[in-house]
C-alpha cells in the first residue's frame, strides 16, 4: 500500500520526518519505507561523468527524504545547484509518465527538468535553477504544490486490511505517536439537494449470506470530465492513474477510507434494478478488462433485470461502466463475504484493488459513510445532485465482537507486567472501546475495521506491539537439565557424511523435483519401483512436476555440470529423501525413504605435479559403499554382495548390497546409453543405499577382542582359475579347506595377461596362520598349507602357480 504523506496530513498533524515515520511504523509491525514522490525541488550533491556518453552527467541528488541517482544532459548541471526533480511514477504536465530507466546503461531514478518540461514557461535552455530559498522535497511552483509529496510504502501482512487506506494508516500512526486523528467529514450535507432516492432504482439481494449489506446512492445530472489536479497528484502517489472524475472519486474513497465502491451508469441498468445473486450455471460475463469468463454457481454477481453487470466485489462489466455520455450514477457501497470474494478472485486469477480489500475484510461499519463521502465528491467534481437518502439492504446489522483482556494472562504470555490503565490507553488509541475496567480485566469492544482481532490473545498482541517489543525484557528459561534426543536418522546421516567426506567425496544437494520422464531415461520399465512417481497437481513447470524415486538423475546432472566446467574428477554424494507413490501409509501419504547416493567419474585424483592418477572404476564405487558401512559400524561379515540387475547399470558390473536377505542398495557402472541420455561421458559409476536399513544394522558399541599373544606366519598361494570364478568362492573354498590355524584370508592380486591362458585368470591369496596356544613351527604350517592348496585344487579345478 502506497500512502501519500500529503493525504495523511488530512487526518493527522505530523511533525516527524518521513524516515522516522517509516521506522516507527516498522517497529509497530507495519514494515514501511519512505521515498519522495512527484515533482519537487532537489539539491544536486554530486556530478560525475557518464561512462558511455560525453554530454550526459550522472548526478546524485537529495530529494528531501533520501538520495537518488539521476542522469541529466542539461549543460547547466552542476554540483550544489537546486533544481526540479520528477520522480518515477509521476506524470509530467504533458501526460508523459517518468519511469526508472537505464540511460545509456546507467540507472536514472527520475529526471531533472526545465521550466518547459514542467509547463511553467517555454524556457528550455537548461534545467531550472532555484535560489537558496527552495528546500529539497519542497514545492517548485505554486501551481505544482500538490505534486511535491512523499510516499510511505507499507509492506503489509495479510492480517492488516485496515491499513489499506489513508485513514487506517493515519489511525495506526496516530496510535504510535499517541495522538488522535481528525474526524472524517463526508461533506455530503452541503450538496444533498436531489430527489428522494426511493423510486429511482430498486435493489434486491438474493444471497444475503454472501452480501450481508448492499448500500447505494444515486447522483443525477453529472458531467463526466477530469478531476482536479490535486486529486490526480494524490492518486498518482498511491499508484492509480486518473480515468475520469466519477471513477476517480470511487478510487479516491477506496484509497482514503478503504471501502471499494462501484459506479454504474444508472441508465444502462435494465429495469433500473440491481440484483445481487449467485451466477447461473453456464452464465458468462465480460469484465472491464475485456475478457469474457464462464461463471460458476459459487460466484456472486451484481445483475440488472437482464444480465450480470459486475463480478461482485472484483470487477465491473463493460456494459454498465461509466462513459462520456453518462449523467446518472448508481453508486454501490457493499460488504461482501471475504471467503467468497477470495475464491472467485483465485478462480479467475483476477486480483484488483477491490478484491484485495473485500477478501481481507473491509469495515462493515464504514459502508454508508463511504457511500456518502463518494457521492459528495462526485457532486463536487462532476456536478450533479445527490438524491436524498440511501437504498440500504442490511437485514442483519453488524454486531461488534466484545472480549475480555485479563492482565495476569497478558503478563504470563509476555513475561512482563503492564498496568491495566496503560493497556487501556493503547487500545483506545487504536479506536477500540474499553467499556469496563478493573485492575485485572479490561472489557473491550473491537471495531469493525479490525477483522484480525477477535480473541484475548489478539488484544495481548495489540498491547505488546504498541507498548514495544523491545521494552519487554529478555530472560532465559529455567528448567530441568536433560540430554537432547537427536533423531537417530540424523545421526546415521551425519556418520555417513563424515565417512564419505573423509574418503574424498563432496556433498551435493538437489531439489527433489524431477521431470516425470526420468524413469524412461534410466531405461526402467513402467512397473519398476523407480517409475512409481508422486506427481504434483500444480507444478511450476514439467521439470518440477514429479518427486524423485532415486537420487541418481540429480547426481548425473551434477556430473554434467562439473564436466562442463572442465573438472577432471567428480566424486559427489547426496543424502536425501526419495518418494514412492504406493502403497500409501495410514495417513494416505506416500512412502518416504532417506537414502545416500553417489557418483564417480574421471580420475581418482586431480592431475598434479607428481603425475596423473588412474581412472576411477567399479571398485572405487564399491569402496565408497564399504566406507559408509564402516562409518556406520556395520560388521562386513553380515553383508553379502550379489550381481544386480538394475535397468540403468551394466549387468556385468553391477552389485546389490544384501543385508539379511533384503536389498539395502546397489552399486555399479552406468550404461553408456544412459550416460548419453544425461549427456555425461561414459563410464560413470554410481551407488545408492537405504540409510535406515544400514544404520539400524550398525553396532552401538564394539567389544574389544584381545590381541594375539603369539606370532603369525604368512603363506601366499597363486592360482590359475576360470575367469568367471569369483573371489568370494575362492575365499569360501579356502575357509572350508580343513587346514588348521587359518586366522585370516585375503586376495592380494588379480592378473590376466600374456602368461595366463585365455579364459583364465591368476589370483593370489595370502593366508595368515596363527595359534592361540603357542608359536607355530614353519614345518607345521607347510603341512597345513598343503591341505589348503590341495582343497583349492580339488574344489576349484585350480592350477597352482609356483610360489
Amino acid at each position: 500500500m502506497r500512502i501519500s504523506l500529503n493525504w495523511l496530513g488530512d487526518f493527522l498533524d505530523i511533525d516527524i520526518s518521513p524516515g522516522e515515520i517509516a521506522r516507527r511504523l516498522t517497529l509497530a509491525g507495519i514494515e514501511a519505507y519512505a521515498e519522495a514522490f512527484g515533482i519537487m525541488a532537489c539539491e544536486v550533491v554530486e556530478v560525475g561523468d557518464h561512462p558511455h556518453a560525453d554530454k550526459l552527467k550522472v548526478c546524485r541528488v537529495f530529494d528531501g527524504t533520501g538520495y537518488r541517482q539521476v542522469v541529466c544532459g542539461a549543460p547547466n548541471t552542476r554540483k550544489g545547484m537546486k533544481t526540479a526533480l520528477v520522480t518515477p511514477g509521476a506524470i509530467l504536465p504533458g501526460g508523459i509518465e517518468v519511469k526508472t530507466a537505464k540511460v545509456r546503461g546507467v540507472v536514472s531514478e527520475g529526471m531533472l527538468c526545465s521550466e518547459k518540461e514542467l509547463g511553467l514557461s517555454d524556457e528550455h535552455s537548461g534545467i531550472i535553477e532555484f535560489d537558496a530559498s527552495f528546500v529539497p522535497g519542497g514545492s517548485v511552483h505554486r501551481s505544482l504544490k500538490d505534486y511535491a509529496d512523499v510516499v510511505i510504502e507499507l509492506d503489509l501482512t495479510p492480517n492488516r486490511p485496515d491499513c489499506l487506506s489513508h485513514l487506517g494508516a493515519a489511525r495506526e500512526l496516530g496510535a504510535i505517536l499517541g495522538r488522535h486523528i481528525k474526524p472524517v467529514s463526508t461533506g455530503l450535507d452541503k450538496v444533498l439537494d436531489g430527489a428522494p432516492v426511493s423510486g429511482l432504482a430498486e435493489i434486491e439481494v438474493k444471497a444475503p449470506d454472501k452480501c450481508p449489506r448492499y448500500c447505494a446512492r444515486i447522483i443525477e445530472g453529472v458531467k463526466i470530465g477530469e478531476c482536479p489536479g490535486w486529486v490526480r497528484a494524490r492518486l498518482e502517489a498511491a499508484g492509480i492513474r486518473s480515468i475520469n472524475n466519477v471513477v476517480d472519486a470511487t478510487n479516491y474513497v477506496l484509497l482514503e477510507l478503504g471501502q471499494p465502491l462501484h459506479a454504474f451508469d444508472l441508465d444502462r441498468l435494465a429495469g433500473a434494478k440491481i440484483i445481487v445473486r449467485p451466477a447461473d450455471p453456464g452464465e458468462s460475463f465480460t469484465t472491464l478488462d475485456g475478457i469474457t469468463r464462464k461463471l460458476s454457481r459459487d460466484d456472486l454477481v451484481i445483475a440488472d433485470a437482464d444480465r450480470p453487470v459486475a463480478l461482485a466485489g472484483i470487477m465491473g462489466g463493460l456494459d454498465s461502466e461509466v462513459t462520456k455520455e453518462t449523467t446518472r450514477i448508481l453508486l454501490e457501497s457493499a460488504w461482501f463475504e471475504p471467503r467468497s470474494i477470495r475464491r472467485t478472485s483465485k478462480r479467475y486469477d483476477l486480483n484488483t484493488e477491490s478484491s484485495r480489500r473485500f477478501s481481507a475484510g473491509v469495515d462493515p461499519e464504514g459502508i454508508d459513510r463511504a457511500a456518502d463521502r463518494c457521492a459528495a465528491l462526485i457532486s463536487d467534481w462532476a456536478g450533479g445532485r445527490v438524491a436524498r437518502g440511501r437504498i440500504d439492504v442490511y437485514p442483519k446489522p453488524f454486531k461488534p465482537i466484545e472480549t475480555d483482556l485479563r492482565m495476569d494472562r497478558l503478563a504470563r504470555i509476555l513475561g512482563k507486567d503492564i498496568e491495566a490503565g496503560e493497556a487501556a490507553a493503547v487500545l483506545e488509541g487504536l479506536d477500540f472501546s474499553v467499556t469496563e475496567s478493573d485492575t485485572n480485566t479490561l472489557h473491550v469492544r473491537i471495531p469493525g475495521f479490525r477483522p484480525d482481532v477477535e480473541r484475548e490473545i489478539d488484544l495481548i498482541e495489540e498491547v505488546a506491539r504498541l507498548y514495544g517489543y523491545n521494552k519487554i525484557p529478555a530472560t532465559r528459561p529455567v528448567g530441568y537439565l536433560k540430554h537432547p534426543e537427536i533423531a537417530k536418522e540424523l545421526i546415521f546421516e551425519r556418520k555417513t557424511r563424515q565417512a564419505l567426506v573423509a574418503a574424498g567425496a563432496s556433498q551435493a544437494y538437489n531439489y527433489a523435483f524431477v521431470a516425470p520422464d526420468f524413469p524412461e531415461r534410466l531405461q526402467a520399465p513402467a512397473d519398476h519401483p523407480v517409475a512409481d512417481l508422486v506427481q504434483a497437481a500444480n507444478p511450476i513447470k514439467v521439470e518440477f512436476s514429479a518427486l524423485r524415486t532415486t537420487l541418481l538423475p540429480g547426481l548425473l546432472y551434477n556430473v554434467q555440470t562439473n564436466v562442463n566446467q572442465r573438472a577432471e574428477s567428480v566424486f559427489l554424494f547426496e543424502i536425501g529423501t526419495v518418494f514412492k507413490n504406493t502403497p500409501r501409509n495410514d495417513e494416505n501419504l506416500p512412502v518416504e525413504r532417506r537414502v545416500v547416493g553417489g557418483v564417480l567419474w574421471g580420475s581418482a585424483r586431480e592431475e598434479k605435479w607428481f603425475g596423473r592418477s588412474r581412472d576411477m572404476d567399479f571398485y572405487d564405487a564399491k569402496g565408497a559403499v564399504e566406507t559408509i558401512l564402516g562409518g556406520l559400524k556395520v560388521d562386513l561379515g553380515i553383508v553379502t554382495w550379489k550381481k544386480a540387475n538394475q535397468p540403468w547399470l551394466n549387468p556385468h558390473a553391477a552389485a546389490s548390497l544384501m543385508m539379511d536377505h533384503s536389498v539395502a542398495g546397489w552399486v555399479g557402472e552406468i550404461l553408456p546409453s544412459v550416460c548419453s541420455e544425461f549427456d555425461v561421458p561414459w563410464p560413470v559409476f554410481a551407488f545408492e543405499l537405504d540409510i535406515g536399513i544400514i544404520g539400524l544394522a550398525g553396532k552401538e558399541t564394539i567389544e574389544y577382542k584381545s590381541l594375539p599373544k603369539f606370532p603369525s606366519i604368512r603363506r601366499d598361494v597363486a592360482l590359475i582359475v576360470d575367469e568367471d570364478l569369483d573371489a568370494a568362492s575362492i575365499i569360501e573354498a579356502a575357509e572350508g579347506s580343513g587346514a588348521g590355524f587359518v586366522a585370516h584370508l585375503d586376495v592380494f592380486d588379480v592378473y590376466k595377461g600374456e602368461t595366463i591362458p585365455p579364459g583364465k585368470k591368476s589370483i593370489a591369496i595370502k593366508i595368515v596362520y596363527r595359534s592361540n596356544e603357542g608359536s607355530l613351527e614353519s614345518s607345521r604350517i607347510d603341512e597345513e598349507n598343503k591341505v589348503l592348496v590341495q582343497a583349492l585344487r580339488d574344489k576349484l579345478n585350480a592350477e597352482i602357480r609356483d610360489s
Binding site: R160, Y469, R497, I540
Partner: protein, 341 residues
C-alpha cells in the same frame, strides 16, 4: 733394529695420509698399515725389547704417543667421512618446499549442512530435541492445525505445491511440531530441521525447495520474554555479540508474532546495500504459539504457553558467507562446494 729417531717423521707422514683418506675402507687399511700386527708403528713396540734398559721407558712412552696420535687421527677422520656421507644422503633427498603437498583427497560437507549443524548444535546444547517428519504432508498438519483457515489470505503467503486435494509438499517444517505435540505431552523443547517446498520459480533469491529449522518450547511458564532471551543467546553465538531487535509481524500460528533482526554485520548499523540502508538484518520469524494451535493438538491452552521460531538455512548461509545467489546451493558445482572445506 728400528731407528727411534725416525718415529716422529713416520707419525707426521701417517697423519698427512690419514687426513687425505676418502673412505672408511681406506682408513681401515691405514690402520693395518700403521697399527696392525705387522704395522709400521707396531714394529717400534717390538723393537723396545732390544733397546737399552735405561732408555726403554722413555722410548716406550714415545711409541705410545705415536700410536695415540694415529688412533686419534683415524677416529677424527672417520667421523668426518661419516658426516660427509650423511650430508650427501640427505642432500640427495632435497625437496622444493613451495610445491604443494600430496593431497589425501578429503571432500567437503555441503555448506548448508555445515550451517544447519551449527544451528542444531546450538539448540541441542540448550537441551532441545531434534525431531524429523515427512516432506509430503496432509494439509491439516501443514495448514489447518496451524491456524491457517481454508480460503484465508494467509495461505497465499506460502504458495503451495499440491499432490492431491488434502496432500501437499510441506511449506514449512511446522507440521513436524504439530506431529510432535500430538504424540508428546509438555514440557517440550524441540527443533525440526528439513526441506520445505514452495511453488516458486528459481531466481537469485527464490528456490522451489529450501531448508528450514524451526523450534518450539512449550511449558507452564513459557513467555515472550524467554523467547527473546533464548533467541538472543542463539543469535549472538551465530552472528557475534551485536544488538538484536524484535519487530511485530504476522504468522497464523503465533501470536504475538515477531521478526528478529541483528545489527548489520557488514556495516555495523551505518546502513549499506546488504541491510538495505536500515542497519538491521532480518534473521528469523518467531512468536508465542497461538492458542488455536494448542486447541488443534489437544493441549490445554490456559495451562500451557509456548513459543516457536523458524528460519531459512539458505538465508543464514547467504548472510554468513556473502553468497549472492540461492541457486548456487543446488547447482553442485565443485568449484563452489569445495570453497567450504
Amino acid at each position: 733394529m728400528q731407528d727411534f729417531s725416525r718415529l716422529d717423521d713416520l707419525v707426521q707422514q701417517a697423519l698427512g695420509i690419514i687426513e687425505k683418506a676418502g673412505s672408511e675402507n681406506e682408513l681401515k687399511e691405514l690402520k693395518v698399515t700403521y697399527l696392525g700386527k705387522k704395522g709400521k708403528v707396531t714394529s717400534y713396540f717390538k723393537a723396545l725389547g732390544s733397546a737399552p734398559a735405561q732408555e726403554r721407558k722413555a722410548l716406550g712412552q714415545q711409541v705410545n704417543r705415536a700410536r695415540q696420535a694415529i688412533e686419534n687421527a683415524l677416529a677424527v677422520r672417520e667421523e668426518a667421512i661419516k658426516l660427509d656421507a650423511l650430508d650427501q644422503k640427505l642432500e640427495a633427498r632435497k625437496v622444493d618446499v613451495t610445491l604443494p603437498g600430496r593431497p589425501f583427497g578429503r571432500g567437503t560437507v555441503h555448506i548448508l549442512d555445515q550451517v544447519m549443524d551449527r544451528i542444531l548444535d546450538l539448540f541441542s546444547g540448550l537441551g532441545f530435541d531434534v525431531v524429523l517428519g515427512p516432506e509430503v504432508e496432509t494439509s491439516w498438519n501443514n495448514f489447518d492445525a496451524l491456524n491457517f483457515p481454508p480460503d484465508h489470505p494467509a495461505r497465499d503467503m506460502q504458495d503451495t505445491v499440491f499432490i492431491e486435494d488434502e496432500i501437499v509438499l510441506r511449506t514449512h517444517t511446522s507440521p513436524v511440531q504439530v506431529r510432535t505435540m500430538k504424540s508428546r505431552k509438555p514440557p517440550l523443547r524441540v527443533v525440526c530441521p528439513g526441506v520445505v517446498y514452495r511453488r516458486d520459480t528459481p531466481d537469485a533469491t527464490h528456490a522451489p525447495a529450501f531448508f528450514q529449522v524451526e523450534g518450539l518450547m512449550v511449558g507452564e511458564h513459557v513467555s515472550f520474554a524467554e523467547l527473546k532471551g533464548t533467541l538472543n543467546l542463539f543469535a549472538r553465538k551465530l552472528f557475534g555479540e551485536g544488538d538484536t531487535r524484535f519487530r511485530p509481524s504476522f504468522f497464523p500460528f503465533t501470536e504475538p508474532s515477531a521478526e528478529m533482526d541483528v545489527r548489520c554485520f557488514a556495516c555495523g548499523g551505518e546502513g549499506c546495500a546488504l541491510c538495505k540502508q536500515s542497519g538491521w538484518i532480518e534473521i528469523l520469524g518467531c512468536g508465542m504459539v497461538d492458542p488455536a494451535v494448542f486447541d488443534a493438538v489437544g493441549y490445554d491452552n490456559e495451562k500451557y504457553t509456548g513459543w516457536a521460531f523458524g528460519m531459512g538455512v539458505e538465508r543464514i548461509a547467504m548472510l554468513r558467507h556473502a553468497i549472492d545467489d540461492i541457486r548456487l546451493f543446488a547447482e553442485n558445482d565443485l568449484r563452489f562446494l569445495k570453497q567450504f572445506v
